[in-house]
């Protein structure tokens, strides 16, 4: 079986994100970029499934500008077998992204598509679900545990009132939650090996995915703003002063 893992290039989780001064987006110049943490978990899970003998190949795919080849190289160094860079300079909406991946799936025929439940840049939490619908295959979102048996997969999800266990027929789409695993570090000996692994570039136009121009227009970002600065706290000397202060602000 082949596992296809989607990895998105995003601003590193630990970077303090700044809005550009002209409010046209967030600052990415000179900013540390990394694999979306949820996708990294998806990749780790795929590697573990392969190591347990459930899969023969882990294929990593990233969509975007040439820069995302850096994240693909990291994924190869972590242990993926092959990478495809779906080249585009447009930032696609989740539906279009799902359509492109769907077109790639037809070529690659994976048994499982693994991806993060969301990317930490836009927090959409949509691509996996849309992909499953377009592909007309089962989906398990927010996976906290993944167990493979012949031809099917059991996925445990952490839901409000406990654990929910789903059993899906393959092929299927699985999106990952934070607690599924802890991704491995990149081994130094594997950095050189990663250089020798195949990384193919495919323009998304070549895939003939029917990206719907209207859908791309449907949602437009008009403005970016930093969250309002938090006002400083004040100190009061007694409980009475605290109550008086809360009252004066109409909070009690």
């Amino acid at each position: 079986m082949k596992i296809l893992v989607l990895v998105k290039r995003v601003i590193d989780y630990n970077v303090r994100v700044r809005v550009k001064s002209d409010a046209s987006g967030v600052e990415t110049d000179g900013v540390k970029m990394s694999i979306n943490p949820f996708d990294e978990i998806a990749l780790e899970e795929a590697l573990r499934l392969r190591e347990a003998g459930h899969a023969e190949e882990v294929l990593v795919v990233s969509m975007g500008s040439e820069a995302c080849q850096q994240q693909l190289r990291t994924a190869l160094a972590m242990g993926a077998d092959r990478a495809i860079h779906l080249a585009t300079d447009d930032a696609l909406q989740p539906l279009s992204a799902a359509r492109v991946i769907k077109a790639l799936i037809e070529r690659e025929q994976p048994g499982i598509v693994l991806l993060g439940k969301q990317a930490i840049d836009n927090d959409n939490n949509q691509t996996g679900q849309m992909l499953a619908a377009l592909w007309q295959r089962p989906q398990a979102t927010n996976a906290a545990k993944v167990e493979l048996a012949d031809g099917s997969v059991r996925v445990t999800r952490e839901v409000d009132d406990g654990l929910e266990v789903l059993e899906l027929q393959l092929p299927a789409v699985i999106t990952t939650d934070l607690r599924l695993n802890t991704p491995r570090f990149v081994k130094l000996p594997d950095i050189m090996k990663a250089k020798k692994k195949p990384l193919d570039v495919l323009a998304i136009t070549e895939l003939q995915a029917d990206i719907d121009a209207d859908a791309e227009q449907a949602l437009q970002i008009s403005d970016w703003q930093a969250p309002p600065k938090r006002g400083g706290g004040i100190k009061v000397d007694s409980v009475d002063a605290l109550v008086a202060e809360l009252k004066s602000r109409g909070l009690v």
């Binding site: 989780y13 943490p37 990291t74 570090f185 130094l188 950095i191």
Partner: protein
Amino acid sequence: MSDIDKLWLHQHLPGIQASQQADDLASYGSDWSRLREPAPAAVLFPQHQEQVAQIIDCANREGLALVPSGGRTGLSGGAIAADGELVLSLERMRQLDPVNHADASVRVEAGVVTASIQQQAERAGLFYGVDFAAAGSSQIGGNIATNAGGIRVLRYGLTRDQVLGLEAVSGKGELLQLNHGLIKNATGYDLRHLLIGSEGTLAVITAATLKLWPDPGERQVLLLAVDGHQALLPLFMAARQALRLSAFEFFTHDCVRHVCAHAGLPPPLEQAAGMYVLLECDAVSDEQVAALFEQLVEQQLVSDGVISQSRQHAQQLWQYRERISESIAAQRPYKNDIAVRIAAVPELLQQLDELIQRHYPAFEVLWYGHIGDGNIHMNVLKPDDLSPAAFKQQCELVNEQVFDCIQRLAGSISAEHGVGLLKQPWLQYSRTPVEIDIMRRIKSVLDPGGILNPGKLL
């Protein structure tokens, strides 16, 4: 001194916040070393420099001992008050001024927590050079009083190298404003540097102006498997040549074992190694790091290694080093914090290893440290079948031999944790009688009444 009560405090130290509650006495009277049972008479919380001077005047008048106190993360008992002293806590003096962009500096009061200086610097796009595992609790006053080092000394220097200006009150009660944030000032004895590292025995530090550095940009962390301590020095030299290092730390596999058990972390590498080096450097290209790694493997200096690809990974890798101290704290290890010149590190490790093997085979000894500064932390864990008293006694016997060895290599018996109570009996292993006598004479000028931290350091 048992007659110090609420009324006494009110009459002798009007306007100064104080506590004599049992839990405050216990916690403010001790530090991380827990070397002695805390028993201070009271804890005082001055709010500005004049109140510090007022307390010092009172102590001189009444012949009372003061223990200056910061975050109490000290490891040598310097902040312990076990004999009815007054603890002078700087904790309520924690004004953190806005960053001065032109000077690239910031003025902070003594009670400011170390980590918040870094946050303030980062908000201004700058960087504070000193960091270590206790930075979330230690205070800048304590850092200056101990000349704290930490994990980035090899790039940014010690706390001493960050201090551009110092405000303090001497043990005689004189208000001091030293060096005023100047970079250049060739006007005689630099009293600022005399106070840095004086462990609260000469003056109470009330504020400092600290140097800030340009934002270092992206950094990466490598964790390398090293076969033995013979590899450490050539590895350091090769890494220093190839990379722009900001940290070069080492620790043994036993340390990793304790950290993993304590913090529930997976082992950092598939195969355990005898020893690890964690290094931090400016971001490097894959080609560069792969070439370096190949070279190191060829020279048989390292056998395996991992590299961070995100800040998250970098932080995770740092945990294997930063959490060693806390992971063994419950076992109350006997700590030795020693230094030699970098070139003498392999010899020191070799000699100490032999010494321990020969005389104390039953002891579990954990080695880690800032090897890029020639600084090694040697932690002896208590065997279960030994009483704490017998353990301490045996460790002190080891000390004599360890310190003999350090003396032969012209090293230091306390690299960065200070002398305090812990190393006071052994000061002569690192300082000559003449030096110690000069130190005493300096002390008598700045603290003629001997009220500041009596019994510590000297």
